[in-house]
């Protein structure tokens, strides 16, 4: 979330799309309700009438997988009706940037497209074709009047000209009148002083166009001036208590802690690596914050290897693994390699891929090809016990499995980071049950054992031997020691701006980190979380901002540097005056003399850099200010996004499996860069009469993710005892299915037995001349619990395709059939 949970109360219009927040993030509704009591409008857009829809002022449906068409129509509406904030977009976004002549869009393809000879990515773009034009100083050429025919604003207009109400309606199945109501209500937040927010979740990400779904909304938020303001922002409602933290610390193949890049093989030295990934800007008004990259990468290496990392050995850069250029090691690719017997050893640590991965039958089969697996969890699960699951013959499966008992969160101490980026400390209640242990103890003990077996040699033992591993106190894992390492230390006396910070003291914030090895920091984004002032995450003070917008700056801690709303310098106009005089986030209150600002003072939240505003009170421009989008190379919010794999503007493409034979917006059916897997276990079928109904997965309040932590509890199982499929009354009539009857749901990849829920919550769609039915299934079940083995995972049905940027699977739109058993 660019904003945070409590901030939702400040909104004037809340769009919930790609999420069912009332059901899956129930406490968030405390703030949705508060906003509504203050006059906000709540809009729910979902294929199904959900618990969120039941609370909404406006509800409408769309067919799964058509969000870009729906939102593209909103962009056109905003542009056609002049609802955008002209001052905001011309100064803070790249709307005025001039795009080079080689940028084209034709037949559903952007310029620079090339089909791939072999998968999984269907094709790729030469992104240099989408580059901005630069002036002779190397600064992007701009037309702040937004008139130039190749400026981003004009190109945006041209691109979405095609997204008229009738065309959109034909794709999404939404009535034209409903589209207009939603567009009208939401676009009023473009008015100065009004804020609109988006609450989305996996309903937007789990598509072959997932990243672009969110990009489309980001464009809308920039056009309406909703970024950086209270009650605005782009807010991903993340589904796991620490998925924000685990992402920040980068348990992901492509990034190092703090969103640094995993080095490529071509980054042969630390210098080459830093040069490659440190952006440079020639614009004196661009903060280009990532210019500090080498300070963060070197400090990270110091945290990895401590005293063993020095300038003489590139701070141990060589010891860390490099990925091959162009190769992808994502979830899908990992299990594809496992299925092809290229992976021998596997850690499933606090995760249940046998139920959570798309096309889970392939994953279960792949696990039988391993030599060994380590499964760490609170409960026995479908992953650790895969060898005795449905259709498996234990006597044929060689995989050796170690199943290690982790303890529950209340039995240990440490921090987690919520969706609003708040890092919060938890304390130990009871001791770990039985022989279970905190994950931290297991990780440290395993590390010790591995260090032991390498003491007598082995292949390239240096990184293992030199890994700094001193995080115990009295032989036990000590989360405070790690938390301090993540924050970072001064490793010698360092003098900065006249103040000397002694060796061994904690670094106050990432602005103090150094690239010469004199500081460490396990994650620069968390530098400021555990300082000489103490453990910031453990704070509990209730003092709010003066205008009561719910910032609570001394309750817990949030990254970066306790900034509660990021991009907040876009919440003020060029003179530093908030767009919204009541729910302001920051306010410039420096002294003024002869129409000029002469001293710096910002009130409110921690500003995105404390520079002067861009303009003086007399309207003259300052040369010591910076643009507000400080993490972007050119300092501007990106309406045109030239870095993405599938194009600088979002375009509607159909899901891999869909019910229509034509894309009404362009001749491409599928995203031309989507990743599609192709082993014998990766079947898919589009517009196939065997699988005529659209399906989507979702969650219920009473269960969580694969259900492992909730299927094992009697109270929650009493509330939601079994796998079900929701369908419309019309579809049930067509198939002769009664409410409550057990039915089979089948896709090209598998089948799952479900109880039918026949409901008014689903209605058939009119798509062109077709009637399209959609069904929905929760993904919380698995054969291990309940122990009758009959309730299975929805992911046995989901498809083998993912988004080209992230490779997140398309589990929100695929095709199935439903039949009586």
């Amino acid at each position: 979330m660019t904003n945070h949970w409590i901030d939702i109360k400040n909104s004037d219009c809340i769009l919930i799309m790609g999420s069912n927040a009332a059901e899956n993030h129930p406490v968030s509704f405390k703030y949705v309700t508060q906003a509504m009591e203050n006059g906000a409008t709540l809009i729910s857009v979902d294929p199904r009438f959900t618990r969120t829809s039941a609370k909404a002022d406006i509800y409408t449906s769309l067919r799964s997988g058509t969000d870009i068409a729906f939102l593209g129509g909103m962009i056109k509406y905003i542009l056609d009706n002049g609802r955008f904030n002209q001052e905001y977009i011309s100064l803070y976004t790249n709307a005025p940037f001039i795009v080079g002549k080689s940028f084209k869009f034709k037949n559903g393809l952007f310029s620079g497209y090339e089909k791939n000879a072999k998968g999984p990515a269907a094709g790729k773009y030469d992104k240099s074709k989408w580059a901005f034009e630069m002036d002779d100083k190397g600064v992007p050429r701009m037309d702040r009047r937004l008139k130039h025919k190749r400026c981003v604003f004009q190109l945006l207009k041209k691109h979405y000209q095609r997204y008229d109400l009738k065309t959109v309606s034909k794709i999404t199945g939404t009535a034209v009148a409903d589209l207009k109501r939603v567009y009208e209500a939401y676009s009023t937040t473009g008015t100065r002083g009004k804020a609109g927010t988006i609450m989305y979740a996996m309903g937007w990400t789990q598509h072959t166009t997932g990243t672009q779904n969110i990009r489309t909304m980001s464009i809308i938020q920039l056009l309406l001036g909703n970024m950086g303001v209270a009650g605005g922002g782009v807010n991903a409602l993340r589904g796991e208590s620490n998925v924000q933290g685990s992402t920040d610390h980068c348990l992901l193949w492509h990034i190092w802690p703090g969103y640094l890049k995993t080095p490529r093989a071509s980054n042969t030295t630390l210098t080459a690596y830093n040069e490659k990934w440190t952006p440079s800007s020639n614009d004196p008004l661009s903060a280009n914050w990532w210019q500090n990259y080498p300070k963060y990468s070197v400090s990270l290496l110091k945290s990895f290897f401590g005293d063993k990392a020095g300038a003489a050995n590139d701070f141990g850069y060589e010891w860390l693994p490099k990925v091959d250029d162009g190769a992808v090691y994502s979830w899908f690719d990992l299990f594809d390699a496992m299925y092809k017997e290229k992976i021998k050893g596997f850690f499933a640590w606090g995760q249940n891929p046998a139920c959570s991965g798309s096309n889970a039958n392939k994953i279960r089969e792949a696990m039988g090809k391993l030599d060994w697996m380590v499964n760490v969890n609170l409960f026995d699960n479908e992953t650790g016990s895969f060898w005795q699951g449905p259709g498996m013959t234990p006597g044929d499966i060689k995989t050796e499995v170690f199943m290690l008992p982790a303890c529950v969160s209340v039995e240990k101490e440490g921090s987690i980071t919520n969706s609003g980026r708040w890092m919060q400390w938890r304390y130990q209640g009871p001791k770990p049950m039985g022989n279970s242990r905190p994950d931290g103890d297991i990780i440290l003990a395993l590390g010790e054992k591995i260090k032991e077996v390498y003491r007598d040699g082995g292949v390239f033992p240096e990184p293992i031997a030199n890994l700094k591993w001193d995080y115990t106190t009295n032989g036990m894992y000590d989360p405070h020691k790690v938390a301090r390492e993540i924050n970072g230390y001064f490793l010698k006396d360092v003098t900065i701006k006249g103040t000397t910070y002694p060796k061994g003291s904690l670094v106050p914030s990432f602005a103090f980190l150094q690239a010469d090895g004199s500081t460490s920091s396990g994650n620069w984004l968390y530098c400021n979380s555990y300082t000489e002032k103490g453990n910031m995450a453990a704070r509990r003070k209730h003092k709010d901002a003066v205008n009561q917008i719910g910032l609570y700056p001394e309750f817990a801690w949030c990254w970066p540097v306790n900034r509660r709303i990021i991009y907040n310098r876009a919440s003020v106009d060029a003179k530093g005056v908030p767009w919204d005089r009541r729910d302001w986030v920051i306010y410039f209150r420096g002294n003024e003399k002869d129409g000029k600002y002469v001293s710096k003072k910002w009130l409110g939240d921690v500003p995105d850099g404390g520079w002067y505003p861009m303009q003086n009170p007399d309207g003259s421009w300052r040369d010591d200010s910076k643009y507000p989008f400080i993490m972007r190379k050119h300092g501007h919010g990106q309406i045109f996004g030239p870095g993405l794999a599938d194009g600088p503007f979002p375009e509607h493409y159909e899901p891999l499996e869909c019910p229509v034979e034509k894309n009404y917006l362009n001749p491409q059916m599928l995203n031309p860069t989507a990743a599609i897997y192709a082993t014998a276990a990766d079947a898919h079928a589009t517009c196939d009469p065997r699988f005529p109904y659209v399906a989507t997965t979702y969650r219920v309040s009473e269960h969580w993710q694969t259900g492992l932590m909730t299927r094992t509890q009697s109270w929650l199982m009493e509330l939601q005892p079994q796998m079900f499929v929701e369908m419309s009354e019309e579809l049930a009539r067509l198939k002769g299915i009664q409410n409550g009857q057990r039915v089979m749901v089948r896709s090209a990849r598998g089948q799952v037995e479900c109880s039918a829920i026949v409901t008014k919550r689903f209605k058939p769609f009119r798509i062109g001349s077709l009637t399209v039915h959609q069904v929905g299934i929760p993904w919380h079940y698995g054969w291990r619990w309940p122990s009758n083995g009959k309730e299975e995972s929805a992911n046995l049905l989901t498809p083998p395709a993912g988004d080209p940027n992230t490779r997140i699977p398309e589990t929100k739109a695929f095709m199935v059939n439903v039949a009586k058993r």
Binding site: V323, V376, G384, P394, N418, S419
Partner: protein
Amino acid sequence: MDVNRRQFIQISSATAAGLAVGGLGFDLAPVKAHAGMLKTKYAKETTTICCYCAVGCGAIVHTSKRGDGRVLNIEGDPDHVINRGALCSKGASLKQLVENENRLTQPMYRAPYADKWQSVSWDWALERIAERVKKTRDASFIRKNEKGQTVNHTTAIASVGSAAMDNEECWTYQALMRALGLVYIEHQARI
């Protein structure tokens, strides 16, 4: 004063009955104060953050200071600024996650081709895992790729997990996996 469960219920129902007839002149203050005290006097009180979704609701955990030292109760934390004491159905059931007979409490091992688990010690399990890691890593380790570039990685070991771990655990875990040379490092954020 020792209060067993039966007496506790009697006091609680007396409180409920007392509330119902509150206008009749009973002084309920001592009874209510006693009922409130029971939860805390014989229990350690700690705060936690719910382990399910990412709203980050606060909860209060009461752990018995006597007997088995287990959790007596978990409820919403009224002093937490996000949830102000409220919890959803999952959060309100947190106690059942902790005090749950289905939990794993012992390391288990399944040998190749075996049809059952066997209980093992931590040392036994960790030593064997370390040996397996070394064997697989050493047999598969790539110092240089086909282009002759240094890669120092193994693609024969993979890891998934975990958004269920604390920040400090996530950091430590990724450090270990990267030191081993793994490039297949993924978790819930990807799906």
